[in-house]
Amino acid sequence: MEKELRLMKGNEAVAEAAIRAGADGYFGYPITPQSEILEYLMEANPSQTTGMVVLQAESEVAAINMVYGGAACGKKVMTSSSSPGISLKQEGISYIAGAELPCLIVNVVRGGPGLGTIQPAQSDYFQSVKGGGHGDYHMIVLAPASVQEMADFVDLSFELAFKYRNPVMMLSDGAIGQMMEKVYLSPQKERVKVFPEWATTGKPPTRARNIITSLDLDSDGMEQHNRDLQAKYQVIREKEVRLEEFQTSDAEYLLVAYGTSARVCQKAVQLLRAQGIKAGLLRPITLFPFPTKRISELASKVKGILSVEMSAGQMVEDVLLAVNGKVPVKHFGRLGGIVTTPEEVVDNLKSEIIKG
């Protein structure tokens, strides 16, 4: 079937893509700049078409625990929020990771800390890729950079979530959530009617009861569970790295940026090339797993690297680990909801890396 062309906001694209991906449930709570996801779903009213459940919860805490309950039934469920709301969800995310449940969590990031601002930021990198809640765990983190990817990554997220029984986060930001672009939407998928064998769907006589828990009071058992989780994350690191490169083949200087910043940096590369500076861009699409290997390879070919992120410098720590001292690495980014401009990136690369 042919894809349908629409002009949509990133948030709307997530919502429509969720319906079309055959999602079973969405549980959310309003917070700017992502409320359009819940609003769109309520208006689309998929309970009447695909049978998808859409519910406005009493809090982000309740919403993520609804996701836990739905995911434990083997259903394709999701939630979305923005930074302060994601902080509230961290408890539930830790339980979901601990109980190894598949789900999608969309974070349309705004500036922090605290109540912060409603404008776009990328300052939730640490809490997304390093854990966020308690315990040793990882989410798979996808960073869309366009409205098209906001739509496409919904299906991909569910696929990865079920493949690894692991929560997947789409780490977006206010800019991508609020902006409109062309988007080609996939045709409607059927909702899956077959339950995974581990799901709590009512115990038939043919199997033992299914228990969904993250608890093991026996430390040896808990250590083994942790080792199993780490082994899973290692497989994810080896198999699921996704990235995009832009003019890196002859690059002397490398920009590393994801999401909105990657779009800004792509323009910066064009501006730099127009000035005769051979710049290139590596855009991590997965932030966990991080494209460590490829960045390390490129570090052997370039003279310096600028990590651009709308934060005080979070992703740059992973870039530094990947580069491991081979070439100078600096961070640049605006804070508190201000989107970095291409011109600022150009100036910063020149002053911090080329002359530095």
Partner: protein, 184 residues
């Protein structure tokens, strides 16, 4: 071809929807588009602006500092964005309520008194379409027929009776826009 546009004015003037119509029309012409609003409480009564990029190529940054065209609908926005127009670029403004007119000599300046015209036409809601008509006259990137096609696609059926009025407003905008200053 890439055209980077800022539209800025009061919340409630239809700034965001004008940008949306512009973007939709370009989609009808098979172009790439991005529409990046300022959002949040400031939209409710305060200033509102939206960056629209129309391009024949894949669009990189949806956020830019300098614009090919600035469409300015109040004094506050004029003060904020006059300096953001690229040298040789275009500034279109509605003279209504403007006390300090644009002063730059290195850009082309056009005036479209859409507020006044909409009042005269007795349809204040078509204000932004008059402005858009003015833009199309100066920068014929999108065609009026595609604007109407876009409207038809994006508006719910029950509003389709308003399309002829919008067409009239677009044409009126083309007629009334005046050149104030031409960049050298």
């Amino acid at each position: 071809m890439t055209e980077e546009i800022i539209i800025a004015g009061f919340g409630g003037q239809g700034v965001l929807s004008m940008g949306k119509i512009m973007a939709y029309s370009a989609v009808m012409q098979d172009m790439e588009v991005s529409w990046m609003p300022s959002y949040g409480p400031e939209m409710r009564g305060g200033t509102a602006n939206v960056t629209v990029i129309l391009s024949t190529d894949r669009i990189s940054s949806p956020i830019v500092k300098h614009f090919d065209t600035a469409i300015i609908l109040n004094q506050q926005s004029l003060d904020k964005f006059e300096s953001s127009v690229k040298p040789g670029g275009v500034l279109i403004y509605d003279g209504n309520g403007i006390t300090r007119h644009p002063e730059r000599k290195d850009i082309s300046i056009y005036r479209v008194d859409a507020t006044e015209e909409a009042a005269r036409m007795n349809s204040p809601k078509t204000f932004n379409m008059i402005v858009l008509g003015g833009f199309i006259k100066v920068k014929p990137i999108i065609k009026i027929e595609n604007v109407l096609k876009g409207l038809k696609k994006s508006l719910p059926e029950r509003y389709h009776n308003l399309i002829p009025m919008n067409e009239k407003a677009l044409i009126r905008g083309e007629e009334i826009i005046k050149e104030v200053h031409k960049a050298k």
